[in-house]
Symmetry: C2
Amino acid sequence: MARNAFYAQSGGVTAVINASASGVIETWRHYAQQRPDEIGKLYAGRFGILGALTEELIDTTHESDEAIAALAHTPGAVFGSCRYKLSDPAKDRSQYERLIEVFRAHDIGYFFYNGGNDSMDTALKVSEIAAEMNYPIHCIGIPKTIDNDLVETDCCPGFGSAAKYVAVAMREAMRDVEAMAGTSTRVFVMEVMGRHVGWLTAAASLAAEAGGPPILLLLPEVPFNERAFIDRVSACVTKHECCLIAVSEGLRDGNDRLLGDTGHLDAFGHAQLGGIGARIAELVRGLLGYKVHWALPDYLQRSARHLASTTDFLHAQGVGRSAVEMAMQGKSGIMMTVVRHAEHPYSWEIGTAPLQAVANREKMLPREFISDDGFGVSEACKRYLMPLLDGEEYPPYRNGLPDYVRFKNVMVEPKLSPFVP
Amino acid sequence: MARNAFYAQSGGVTAVINASASGVIETWRHYAQQRPDEIGKLYAGRFGILGALTEELIDTTHESDEAIAALAHTPGAVFGSCRYKLSDPAKDRSQYERLIEVFRAHDIGYFFYNGGNDSMDTALKVSEIAAEMNYPIHCIGIPKTIDNDLVETDCCPGFGSAAKYVAVAMREAMRDVEAMAGTSTRVFVMEVMGRHVGWLTAAASLAAEAGGPPILLLLPEVPFNERAFIDRVSACVTKHECCLIAVSEGLRDGNDRLLGDTGHLDAFGHAQLGGIGARIAELVRGLLGYKVHWALPDYLQRSARHLASTTDFLHAQGVGRSAVEMAMQGKSGIMMTVVRHAEHPYSWEIGTAPLQAVANREKMLPREFISDDGFGVSEACKRYLMPLLDGEEYPPYRNGLPDYVRFKNVMVEPKLSPFVP
């Protein structure tokens, strides 16, 4: 009997996670046509793994091949995503047992989970508990995160496009500030996502141009030193008339406390709303007296499909396609990876790593990628980053705006009694 | 004897003001080659009109034709701009007399001023005072502003690209919020520039898609009604699971006070730093309990050359080129305009208007362009806006980033004693 697949998107979205979804679905369709006796339908979870718990499954066979192709250039997460961590099975296995129950009811023999390190942990546990329960299923992780913090892979699909957004935005803001510095704003601060790691903030350094001002970075890996920072800003304005700063939302003080959580920021609203950018701007204005502007791109940086990098797009599509190929070869318990063969010219291929090696681990910006003074990155870091931003993978436009696809998202008839997670 | 020209960029920059500069310079070069006995050099003001007062003139002949061509796709203001309003000549004519003195010292017979309504007032006064002083000069205004608030022109170069940025950013953020609304952020707020007029905020409405949520607008032309707003947000989340809001930095209360200036916002920092977006986000979170995110694109929206609209680019280039053509025909005391002939298919041409008709006037969003409930725009407004965003005028890229030109900006030797404005 033909077995079905379950695909879910997890955590914060990226500009290219739907390119992975598109790669999974088109490859699955290819095999479903070739081997209809073995390969059934591909279902997707409504709002990620929650859809499996609540038995809200989307039947992707209702979407046309054209819609699946257009999905590759559409940002967001077309089936919905969620921030939801399953309970620890050592304490409570009921959620995992429910997942297996839903999978069994719908003949699901393949589980593709598209997310970050939490999601790889979930995929690993599903594979382990399914084995204990004698339920045959292939579990494959598909990496995704703008944070670029997964181990075992050279980079994470989603990061390259967010990095391109950050670098382009900073380069353009730099031209604005340089033009006005004579009589107006001298210091510009941009707050960048990445709660624990500075990869995305590091990408702002690529905005610098020969003959222009440097870009100062405030990385979460480097404890914030107010005095050293203010001295650097002052020196930069003296030399270049202006100063550009990229600050990570995860900036920490010497006691490893998030500066957004210390209470300094209460006046600016809840930390969740962003605020370290305002805090840094206010600090510079107060201590140095310069006119300061700050920007908070927030979701724009992770949904900017209009500025996706071709490298990142190909990675995202590749890990999606190869995940299905691996499943067809009988593989399970692995995450797809990107393997770098050479930097210049850049060459890469898709590889795999055991889920055990990936789950719940985090890749910080290594010390050798950070400049000696802590306010920038090394040349090695720039060489690592640059190919990930390469190429402009523009979406089609209609009436001056990107033409993104909307799915029907037809739900599968539930077979089980309701479950409240 | 050949007479020279002075060109200056004024006020906040746009993604395409350098396309106007490029149009001015290439057309000037054309005439300078054809009529070397009449047409001399084109000088540009360092930091705008300030460069004329301080005699800091840039000799543009040092830039190659390739650099002038590349200028057309480079954001910012390549010669520098400023926010500086000359003193009222009815009280103090010394600044205007200094301008004429500098012009006379450098044989400047043409004054091209690229800016908004303040700048058109300056250009008008220069032409009047020069006439009184028997100094022959042709004064031509070249419109520029992301605010779109100049009268006598159908639209303002710079607006279309900023509008495209705002609409694209909101469309992409919408996909992000829709994907996560099941368990995370339900309300997203984006703060948009436009201190007095809502044109740019109105452009966010174009982000809406059939089958998706509406975009709520908070326009400076509509006094903020907290109760009605909160009711609308609540209804929108109930129906669409999420709500997207574009708020103008110029939002006002019923007493015409800027909400960013009332003291409500002190806790979020100085109004100059942005803050109405945070205030609206906090209001929704506090009264409705939803998770809210907010974005402050700040300078990114006016320097996003990577997302320039072709219509806007052609307008900007066209007003620059035609300004020189008009000067060659002996015209003075005019501003170049964009004239709309038809909406669909869009057709237009460059026109002119007297500087007197333009100076110091401001075009608000007309009542018939605002929806009855005040939280959106009419279909007529959308029909007006859409052609202005049309076409993608991409810059060239190198190593994954836009390849913007840097000028040498070689200064002309001063001939006069220093002047401190």
